[in-house]
Symmetry: C2
């Protein structure tokens, strides 16, 4: 983690500890410089990062202010918190692995991972629970050329930590797709819902920092739990 | 528009004109400096902006590369392209205003706009079409303390341009919420779908650059058209 990222985390903690609310001002740059004993450019980088993350907003000439809280029950779409990596430490969420195998990539999977059709990929299937209700069914494909070894134990823990810490891979950026459909009979019975009920399909293609896709996740979500928010920044509005 | 934003647009154009694809390298910083005759820090700011927008990704020590195309039929969730401001110039999309009035803010609307309950707000209702099919029904509320005058003509064009150019307001950031539900009988008949079919509810609260919310949009989308993508950046993945 770089210095400005650490400072950004510190400021985030400061906001939480002091229970700052929408519109509350955080200390001016000069104060932050002497508090954290870093350069002005490090502080500005940290504040830019927090603005990008939707934690603060900056008003030129006035200072930096806290952005509002988000409605309860909504998850950050970009943090993919619906289908968390390792939910065992995070009750009432729970993630169970229900299958793992090496399969040949069908066209969709091959396209997503930038592979030839029929290439070998790992397929791992998970069910995510909240309390005892099924929240999400997820199938994840890994490019076997990049992740040459995987077992159930690794797949039950945080695969991303394994990729970073053991395989030394640098994880880059995700492309996220969402669309809606109706539950088929199998899905309906797993969710305890009715055939034809709404479902959210959420796909994520993760790339290495080099731009190469290495992981493709397809999740079907219980529509009652599919509540997401995104804190847009300046770029994302009409302007 | 600031200089680095202009340069970012130029580079975006360059990528389009040269039909660059995922993984294609764009010219190195030194080349861009002499091409656009600006400082190194301006070029770096422009590249950071393009990275944030999901147009390029940077690999330390290697250069800047183009990010992949997005699947056809998917819209950028952050650009809110489902319900565009002025679709008349953008066939086959069309937006019709079906009602405009001054109403008292119900609790939800008051909360979203940071107003007292029963405050006066403008309510504008739109229907968005693609070909002749209803794509989206949208109701937009404007804080009357900020936007003191509005008429149907203004509401039929780009309200955001009016706010920026005529009222001189600085538009800031949006908070976006999505959730799923089932169509009721009225909605089903407007969409030409069945009662109980899935729908996507998308809400956006727009803030001024000062952080004050001024506009609250609630849209119900035809589930067949509700296909969105988000190009995440580094921040948004698990790390």
């Amino acid at each position: 983690m770089l210095k400005y990222q650490k400072i950004a985390l510190e400021i985030e903690k400061y906001i939480t500890v002091h229970s700052l609310k929408q519109g509350d001002k955080i200390p001016v740059i000069e104060t932050l410089i002497s508090q954290y004993k870093v350069s002005k450019s490090t502080i500005i980088k940290a504040l830019n990062l927090l603005e990008d993350k939707g934690i603060v907003f900056m008003v030129r000439g006035s200072g930096t202010f806290v952005r509002g809280q988000i409605r309860k029950g909504y998850n950050n779409l970009l943090l993919t918190q619906d289908c968390r990596e390792d939910d065992s430490k995070n009750p009432p969420f729970l993630r169970k692995i229900i299958g793992m195998e090496i399969v040949r990539a069908i066209p969709d999977v091959a396209t997503a991972l930038g592979l030839e059709e029929d290439s070998k990929v790992y397929s791992v299937r998970y069910v995510h629970y909240i309390e005892k209700q099924v929240l999400c069914m997820e199938q994840v494909f890994y490019n076997k050329n990049i992740i040459s070894y995987l077992d159930k134990e690794i797949a039950s823990e945080s695969i991303f930590n394994y990729l970073k810490n053991i395989l030394g891979l640098k994880i880059g950026f995700p492309d996220i797709y969402i669309n809606l459909d109706k539950l088929n009979s199998e899905e309906a019975s797993i969710f305890g819902l009715n055939i034809g009920d709404p479902m959210l399909c959420k796909e994520i293609i993760y790339h290495l920092a080099s731009g190469q896709p290495f992981c493709y996740s397809r999740a079907v979500l219980n529509y009652k739990q599919a509540k997401f928010f995104i804190k847009g920044n300046r770029l994302n509005s009409y302007i």
